[in-house]
């Protein structure tokens, strides 16, 4: 068991290094570099000045040396310096990670909760209105792009019926403090979290319904009924724990999607998280920031996979044995 964990962890580290190198190479391949943008904002420069700047940032050296230098710094916890924001990237990310985690966490948890409930109920009455509603909603959720859903929700709940704020994370006057501030943030959280949750719901509700349907037909559920267990125990003890497995696995493996969804939703709602930061840094050709965010995201995805692995082991004893 301990041995297995060590292997998993070292695999994860290797994976992260590979992701880093790949990210670096991909960004290098894309046209344009930070110096061009910088020069553009300075209002032009002579070719000598540009070459100087390139040399200053180490951009004139061969790619593999740049990568090695970057890797060396990352190992020491240094993700570089953002030219545009004039701040170390680690500081920049640290300042933005809170809002993103709040948004993604809220959306993910509520989506999993709601979809489990939907799955349980719709699977028991598979010809009911609720059951068909799950299918339709999930189809719609799959097909509708996140930003569009976000904009429609804004039009509905902020413009037509103005009960929720359009964007941002807190009211601009900044007067609120303490409990009022928390409530203010929560008020702003509703719309983006709802939008993001709808995307996940589309993924998970179908899955949890299908999985529940399958489990309800299984021999061990029949055994549970034949033993004379009350319905509550049959459903929530015997069926649900087995049915939830694929949902947990899927949610863990799809965590990358979760982050990319967050980028779109944060942008639409001007939510001051990593997503907006990523979006801005792409526009500004702010390579260090972008690389930093990509690296940080991959760390989160890998961590999430490890966590999923752990959870699945807790739920299903069969996996421990293998």
């Amino acid at each position: 068991m301990l041995n297995g964990s060590v292997i998993k962890l070292s695999n994860a580290v290797l994976l992260l290094i590979a992701v880093l190198i790949l990210n670096f190479a991909l960004i290098h391949v894309a046209p344009g570099d930070p110096v061009e943008v910088l020069v553009g904002e300075m209002g032009g420069a002579t070719p000598e000045q540009i070459a100087d700047l390139r040399a200053h940032f180490g951009l004139d050296r061969p790619l593999y040396i740049q990568i090695a230098t970057y890797l060396g710094r990352v190992v020491q916890g240094d993700l570089g310096y953002s030219l545009y924001y004039d701040q170390p990237v680690t500081q920049l990310i640290a300042g933005r990670v809170g809002p993103t985690l709040l948004l993604v966490g809220t959306a993910l948890l509520s989506a999993i909760l709601v979809c489990t409930v939907l799955g349980v109920f719709s699977a028991q009455k598979r010809r009911s209105v609720l059951s068909h509603l799950v299918t339709v909603l999930s189809l719609a959720g799959f097909s509708a792009p996140a930003f569009w859903v976000g904009i429609m929700l804004i039009l509905l709940l902020s413009v037509a019926i103005p009960i929720l704020p359009i964007s941002g994370m807190s009211s601009s006057d900044g007067a609120a403090s303490g409990v009022m501030y928390v409530l203010d943030v929560l008020h702003h959280l509703i719309l983006p979290a709802l939008t993001l949750a709808l995307i996940y719901l589309a993924f998970y509700s179908r899955l949890s319904r299908a999985s529940m349907l399958e489990v309800l037909e299984s021999d061990y559920v029949r055994t549970a009924r034949a033993k004379g267990l009350p319905r509550r125990l049959v459903i929530y003890k015997h069926a649900l724990r087995n049915a939830v497995l694929p949902v947990v696995t899927f949610a863990g493996l799809q965590f990358g999607q979760v982050i990319s969804g967050a980028v779109l939703v944060e942008t639409v709602f001007a939510w001051p998280g990593l997503g907006t930061l990523a979006f801005e840094s792409i526009l500004r050709r702010d390579t260090p920031t972008l690389l930093g965010i990509l690296f940080f995201s991959s760390v989160m995805v890998v961590a999430m996979n490890l966590l999923t692995d752990f959870l699945v082991r807790r739920i299903d004893p069969r996996i421990k044995a293998q």
Binding site: Y220, T223, R225, A226, K227, P230, I315, R318, A321
Partner: protein, 332 residues
């Protein structure tokens, strides 16, 4: 009320398929006495398993339902009983062991817990008392070091061991009736013998009546007191097991009994070819036509067999046969 433990009267079970209801079990009546072992035999698809499920109200619904008849358990009607009452009966008064030990236990709970929860549900035992009872049951069904094994998960046990656990679950509340639906089909022959020994032992200890569903005539001969033969959803013969083996009356039963391979070698050292009944059990949908359901496969069928369905006919000492040969048996 008669003193019968279980009395099934004119049971019909129908499944909805393509807009119409098709009966898969028709006009089935039988009784079960205290402590008796009744064998229900027949080929796959003749309605044995669904009959068993109907006794504890577990016919998959939809699409199936009990469309006619009654099931009297100690005089109490179970067909119209509510789910709440059935929950009390299941596992406590009537319990069931299934055909598939590999998939019938929940993979995510320990076997101890799966036995203990049954005791908790019916007897309201505390966690620790129910666990102690589970360990006791495991030792009763012959699982070595039961106090350790109780913490195992199903995947850590072999098929035979899992079936023992299923039996422990079925017997933990000392039911009055144990239904065993082909309990050894999925197991090795040597393990089969062990499981049947176990059934016999436990029946003595607990005094439960057993309904043993099987298509293995050898098992029926060894295990049961009385046999009920089903064909295409109907009872076609019933009687004491000795008569059933020695003197089968219905051509189908005769066929079944002849299907037992004989180990004795004839002098010419050439084993006799295995007997088989030609054809297959008709699908329930095909049974709308008149006549005996077995007629198309029956070597002794004559004119009347194809036009009229024979009713069950008493044939002395608790025997009954549904065959025209019994009443007008001259054409054979």
């Amino acid at each position: 009320m008669s003193g019968k433990l279980l009395s099934v009267r004119n049971l019909e079970i129908a499944f909805r398929s393509g807009g119409e209801e098709i009966p898969v079990v028709r006009d089935l009546s039988f009784d079960l006495d205290h402590g008796e072992t009744l064998g229900i035999v027949g080929e796959s698809g003749c309605g044995k398993s669904v009959t068993a499920l109907s006794l504890i109200g577990l016919v998959p619904n939809p699409p199936g339902r009990i469309s006619k008849g009654e099931i009297l358990f100690e005089g109490e009607e179970l067909v119209k009983a509510g789910e709440r009452r059935l929950t009390q009966v299941r596992g406590n008064d009537i319990s069931m062991v299934f055909q598939e030990p590999m998939t019938s236990l929940n993979p995510v709970y320990t076997i101890g817990e799966q036995i203990a929860e049954t005791a908790r549900a019916h007897f309201g035992l505390s966690q620790s008392k129910a666990w102690a009872r589970a360990v006791e049951m495991l030792s009763l069904v012959g699982i070595p070091s039961p106090d350790k094994r109780a913490h195992d998960y199903p995947h850590q046990l072999s098929g035979g061991m899992r079936q023992r656990v299923m039996i422990a679950i079925a017997l933990v509340c000392e039911p009055k009736i144990l239904i065993a639906d082909e309990p050894t089909t999925a197991l090795d022959v040597t393990v089969q013998a062990q499981i049947f020994d176990l059934f016999r032992d436990l029946q003595k200890k607990i005094g439960a009546a057993i309904i043993l569903i099987t298509h293995d005539i050898g098992v029926v001969a060894q295990m049961t007191d009385r046999v009920l033969v089903m064909y295409a959803g109907r009872k076609i013969e019933e009687g004491p097991v000795a008569d059933f083996v020695r003197d089968p009356r219905h051509p189908y039963t005769r066929g079944l009994v002849s299907c037992i391979p004989r180990l004795a070698m004839p002098p010419d050292d050439e084993p006799a070819p295995l007997f088989e009944i030609p054809g297959v059990v008709p699908a329930p949908r095909e049974l709308n036509r008149p006549g005996c359901a077995f007629a198309p496969r029956c070597a002794s069928a004559f004119g009347k067999c194809r036009s009229q369905d024979p009713a069950l006919h008493a044939a002395g000492d608790g025997r009954a046969v549904a065959c025209w040969l019994e009443t007008e048996g001259n054409a054979a």
